[in-house]
Each structure stands twice: as C-alpha cells, then as structure tokens.
C-alpha cells in the first residue's frame, strides 16, 4: 500500500480535525495562492459582475441601472463591428497559421534534418519579442509610400505585370488594415503553435509510423492516416487558443493601427479597453467583458463536445 507521505498514522482513520491538523503544512503551502486569488481574482470577478448592473466611471458615485447595460449592448454598432472584425481577422490568419504550424512541425520533426535547432529558433523567436516593438517595426514595413513591402511588391510587379496593382494601403485603408493585423499575428504566433504541434507529434508512438512504413505507406499517407487523426486534440487546442487570442488581442492593434482607419481593425479587446480606460464606462465594459467571456466559454464547450462526438 502506497502510504500517505504526510503521516503514516493517517491509516488509523482519525477524525477530520486531526486529519486537517496533521496536514496543516499542506494548507499553509497552498494558502498564498488562495489568498491572492481571493483578493485579485475572486473579488474582482464578483465586483465586475456587480458592476455589470451599474453605471460608473470609477470616480463619481455608482448608479444601479439593472439590465440597462445588457440592453445597450444589443444596439451597440461598435460592439457589433468589433466582433465582426475579430471574426474576419481570425478567419484571415487562423487557418493559414495552423496549416503553416503543422507543416513546420512535421518538417522540423524529421530526424535527418540538419540545422533543426536553428530553424526551430527562427520560427519560434517572434514569440519572445515585445509586441509593442514589433508592431512599430511592422508599421514601417507596411508603410504605403516608403515601406519595404510595397517596394518589393513594386519590384515584383515589374517582372510579373499581373501583380502590379500599385502601392497597397496596408494601414491606411479599411480593406487592408485587417490583413496587415492578420499578417503581424501570423508572424508572431506561428512558431508558438508549431511548438505545440511538435509536442503533439512527440506524443505519437514511433511504432505507428514504423508499422505504416513497412506496409509501404508514403510520407503523405502516413501524415493523412496517422498524424492528422491523432493530432485532432492539438488542432482543437491551438484553434481555441488562437480564437481567444484574437478576441482579446490588444498590443497589436493598440500600437500598429490604433484600431483604424475608422473602426476597421478594432477588435473586441481594443474596444473593451477603450470603453474601460478611455471612456471610463466601467459598468458597461464589465457587462461586455462578462457577456463575451460567457459566449466564448459556450463556444469552447461546444467545440469540445463536437470534437468528442466526432471522434467516437
């Protein structure tokens, strides 16, 4: 019998008080988490729930407004636009990013590949850089008149006239600003997802592949029939993380596009911040944060459910 490490006497089945006393160090050791959580997690959670029913700017007295904030959300065009933008930006980059991450993971998983560490580093290193700096660098690259990207496109256009459609207004037009944000996010997070997928790949037993190889399966067949089915949980995890990331994304849009031009690149995270700390509508912002968090929670739950019934 694997005895309790804490105290062998526990076997004798004393009463609860003694049990608690015997394990007092356990409670002592985990107490910092619970104290900090109570002050900076639980209390804020409840407080913000309460705020959802009030009108408050953090400075003047609070007013109870009941369900008004929820009603306001229903005809908030900016909220609708920010959710729409979130969706579009997400659709622009998430499929591409997951595909690229999967491809990179599979390639960089190959044993015979030389310079593996170097390539992995190159793909991953964007994740460790301060977003504010990178957003500014991308701002330079995307500059419509003086940016490197448009310069290169123009050079390309000289040889392939079909591609010559003049300087792209990456950051200054409503059509392109979302694409620019998507490209920035793609650059930043592909490596992170690649590492998650590498972890998933490492979880697949080598015997599966060996067995398939002896049966004459090609590399692509192995990926299609072994890797992809077994990696489904990882794909789902990456997709959910990216979805959350797009909804709450902040630094990227706050620095590079400031949500513009117009509202074209304002996602939910930026709108929430603006409502919170530019307009100081604490009540309404709390209400939005809660509602969207609940929505996201439901979507996540459904996605997991869907995934489970699908594989069964």
């Amino acid at each position: 019998m694997p005895g309790n490490v804490t105290n062998p006497a526990a076997r004798q089945g004393d009463n609860l008080i003694q049990d608690l006393h015997r394990n007092r160090h356990f409670y002592l050791f985990i107490s910092p988490f619970f104290i900090l959580f109570a002050v900076f997690g639980l209390y804020p959670l409840l407080f913000s729930f309460y705020l959802s029913f009030t009108r408050w700017d953090g400075l003047t007295p609070r007013a109870w407004v009941g369900m008004d904030n929820f009603a306001l959300m229903l005809d908030d065009e900016v909220l609708a636009a920010s959710l729409w933008n979130t969706l579009i930006i997400g659709l622009l980059y998430i499929p591409v990013m997951l595909f690229l991450a999967f491809v990179f993971a599979n390639i960089l998983h190959l044993r015979w590949l030389r310079l593996r560490a170097l390539f992995r580093t190159a793909v991953f290193i964007p994740c460790v850089t301060p977003m504010v700096v990178i957003a500014l660098v991308f701002g330079l690259i995307f500059s419509s008149e003086k940016g490197v990207l448009n310069f290169l496109l123009a050079q390309l256009g000289k040889y392939v006239p079909a591609l010559d459609f003049g300087p792209v207004q990456w950051l200054t037009s409503e059509q392109w600003s979302k694409v620019s944000v998507a490209l920035l996010v793609l650059w930043r997070w592909t490596g992170y997802n690649m590492v998650l997928m590498l972890a998933g790949l490492q979880g697949i037993p080598d015997e599966y592949f060996e067995a398939a190889t002896t049966e004459g399966a090609s590399a692509l067949q192995r990926i299609r029939h072994i890797t992809i089915p077994l990696m489904r949980p990882t794909f789902l995890f990456c997709a959910i993380l990216s979805l959350l990331g797009t909804i709450y994304m902040f630094d990227e849009v706050f620095v590079m596009t400031r949500g513009g031009p117009g509202l074209s690149s304002t996602n939910f995270g930026l709108y929430l911040f603006n409502k919170s700390f530019v307009d100081f509508r604490f009540g309404y912002a709390s209400c939005m944060a809660y509602s969207v968090a609940a929505g996201v929670f439901l979507i996540t739950l459904m996605a997991q459910r869907f995934n489970r019934t699908d594989t069964e």
Partner: protein, 430 residues
C-alpha cells in the same frame, strides 16, 4: 492660494502636459515667465498620445497627473465631473469678465471654476485667390451659405468638376467633417445638443436648419468626398482640387506649414467671413479651443496657478501665442492689441486677424457634457449613415435624441421647453 505671493519666493518644478502646436506655444513663454518667477521651473511634456486615457487613469488612481494640463475645451466637463481638478474659483474670479461668458461656462460646474480658457476657434473661410479669380467669383458677395453653395456650383461647373468648393467626407466612417460642420452651423442657428442641465436638446428647429444646409451642400455636388486631415485633403492645399476650407483660425498654421513644401511660387490665400444662415445673420462660429487645468493632486498649486495666470491671463503672452502659433486668445483684452489690426503678409496683406475677431463674443457656445467625446461618435455614426443614404431629414434628430438618451442615460427635453425657458433660438439672426 494667497494671491499676494512674493514672486521670487515662489518655488516649484512644474510638469505640464500639452500637445503639438500648443505645447510649442507654452515652451515659448517659459523664458519670460522665468523672468518673473525665477524659481519656478517649467517642463512641458509634449505628448498627446492617448492623453485622455492617461490623465483620467492618473486622476482616478490619485497619482501621476501633471501639475498643469491642457484639455480640449469640449472635454473639460469630462474631467471637471471627476471632482479631481483643483477648484480655481477664488483665484480666477478677477478674470471672469475678461473671457467670453460662453467659454467660461464650459469651464465651470455648479458655480465653481476648474479651468481657464486658453484659445478659441473662431471660424471663417480660407480660399484660393487664383481659383476665385479664374472662375469669376467675388468672395465679398458670399454672405450666406446659399451664396456659398451657388458659388460652389459655378466653380464645379466651370472647372468641369476638376475643382470642388470644399471637402466634406461623407458616407464613410471618416465622417467627422459632417459633425464639425453641424457644430459650426448649430452655433450660428443658436441650437444646442444639450441644454443647461445636460438634457438632450438636439431635436430642435435649429438643428434641422443646420442639417438643411449640409443637405443642400451635399446635394449640390460641391463637396469633395474625403475625410479631413487625410492625405487627399492635405494635398488639396497644394493642388486645385479644393477651392476653400471653411474652418477655424488655428487652421492657418497648417496652411502656412504646407506652403513650405511648395517648390514654386507661394500660392495666394485669402480669407472671407463665414457665411451666415440668412442675410444679416451671425458670420462667425467656433470650432475647437482648449483650456488649462490643475489636477487636485498637484502639490505645488501656487506655482501652477502662477504659470496659468501668466500664460492665459496676460495680454502679452496671449498675443505672443497668437502671433507665433495661431492660437486665438480667449482672453478678451488681448483682442484690443494693435496686432489685430495689422495686415497679415501671408494672406496678401489682408487684415485677417480682425476678421476672425469680429463678433467673437456673439457666438453662443454649445453646452458641453462630460460624455462629449462619446456623443461626438454617435453624431458621426448617425450623420455618416444619413449622408450615405437618401438624406431624408425628417425625424433625423428625434431618432438621434432617442439614441443619445439610451446611450448616455440622459433625459430628452422637449424643444418647446428650451425655447420657452432660455429663448435661445432666433436670438441670433434677423
């Protein structure tokens, strides 16, 4: 705050938040200020990035606000409402009569004063003399907005659409010109967005009068559909695509700035007075302007006040700021300065300063509420979809009023009420 402080005894290290041209204007005052107060050191932090957010966060947390801060006049109430600005009522009392009453009202709440008006934005029309000559338009004969529209039609016609009368972006999200134009016209019509008590008062005949002018402008096809401050708009200062810029006095600095980019001859700019709604009506209005405030958390309020007093409540510094940076003084005694009657070389010797100053005191100010910036966004949205759609005006302001009521939690006042109580409408005009 004792007013009779020994000037050399006053010590301090002031941090001032300001932006852009205004910040430069303040920096220019420091040497002269230090001759009077040698031991008060002023550092102007010129950074407008997200200032509203940063200042409100600091006021809210009680730490990190500057000693003196610039605010947009339109936003002053927003900050005053927080209760975290120093009460200037006592020290400012002696200056009350030296500022336009309408501006002073924007700086006060419940009878207490929390801000001092800095500059104001009287309006006129900047025009390109060459274009007017070419198409035979006499700016002196443009007295009403209808004259303006007629002249615009002539220019568009004779230039075969190459030159538009002015720019007013419409039907895009960049619709702030529509809101600004509505503001300009609404003041001429004596209308209000909010009444004295902060109730929504926009559903009034004056508002419809203003919107009617905008509708006629758009329908006449005299506007270039680009947002203000966009590249195309700025380019219009150099080429022939835009004939006029009906705007506030501070825009002069921008025009002068772009002239530097010209390779060839300096283009001839002129100014004519803002058209009125009707013949004989008010030919001025206001757009923009700012104030200075002292956050309550400031630990050196005497020194901070000394700086504000010198910068805003003396004739010499107000005139200097106008001369160098086109910041039009809110301080009325400054308007008597001979500088206002000097011809301005840039405008071909025209006495534009006096032109802008004429009737300044007659412009009724719009009441500003603490949620002005939000209100402005709703105006932008509504006007934008109105201009992109069929531009049917009936019911526009009652719908807008209901929207403001819902979003801002403010009651709507019936227009009869406003007119009855304050008699605002029709006070200006024939």
């Amino acid at each position: 705050m004792p007013a009779s402080l020994n000037k050399t005894a006053l010590r301090g290290d002031l941090q001032v938040w300001s932006w852009n041209i205004a910040a430069k204007a303040l920096m220019g005052l420091i040497p002269e200020f230090n001759r009077r107060y040698p031991n008060v050191h002023v550092k102007v932090d010129m950074n407008g990035t997200n200032m509203q957010s940063r200042l409100l966060l600091s006021l809210s947390a009680g730490v990190g606000a500057p000693d003196v801060s610039q605010l947009q006049l339109t936003d002053a109430q927003r900050y005053i409402a927080t209760g975290r600005l120093a009460d200037l009522t006592l020290v400012a009392a002696e200056y009350e009569r030296m500022f336009p009453a309408s501006r002073w009202k924007n700086c006060a709440r419940n009878g207490r004063v929390y801000a001092i008006p800095w500059d104001i934005g009287p309006c006129a029309v900047y025009y390109k003399r060459a274009i007017f000559r070419k198409y035979g338009i006499d700016p002196e004969r443009i007295e009403t907005w209808d004259d303006f529209i007629a002249a615009g039609k002539t220019i568009v016609e004779r230039s075969h659409g190459q030159t538009k009368m002015f720019a007013m972006g419409a039907g895009t999200t960049a619709s702030q010109p529509l809101t600004s134009m509505l503001e300009i016209l609404l003041q001429q019509a004596g209308g209000q967005i909010f009444d004295d008590q902060g109730r929504v008062a926009i559903d009034s005949p004056a508002s419809y009068q203003a919107l009617g002018v905008i509708k006629r402008m758009l329908d006449a096809g005299i506007c270039r559909n680009v947002p203000w401050w966009s590249q195309e708009w700025m380019a219009g200062l150099k080429d022939d695509s835009i004939a006029t810029y009906p705007l506030a006095v501070w825009f002069g600095a921008t025009i002068k700035d772009t002239v530097k980019d010209f390779a060839g001859e300096k283009p001839e700019w002129g100014v004519f007075r803002l058209p009125a709604l009707e013949k004989g009506g008010l030919r001025n209005s206001n757009l923009g302007g700012s104030v200075l405030v002292i956050p309550a958390q400031c630990r050196q309020k005497e020194a901070a006040w000394a700086f504000i007093e010198y910068a805003l409540c003396t004739r010499e510094s107000q005139v200097a700021q106008f001369r160098h940076m086109d910041l039009f003084p809110a301080f009325l005694p400054a308007l008597n300065d001979p500088y206002f009657d000097e011809p301005v070389p840039f405008f071909e010797g025209q006495k534009t300063n006096r032109l802008f100053a004429t009737d300044v005191a007659r412009v009724p100010a719009l009441n500003r509420t603490e949620d002005w910036s939000e209100t402005q966004r709703y105006l932008d949205q509504s006007l934008s979809s109105w201009s992109a759609g069929d531009r049917r005006s009936d019911g526009f302001f009652s719908a807008l009023a209901r929207k403001l009521q819902r979003k801002l939690g403010r009651p709507i006042v019936s227009t009869r009420n406003v007119t009855g109580q304050h008699g605002n409408y029709g006070r200006i005009g024939p």
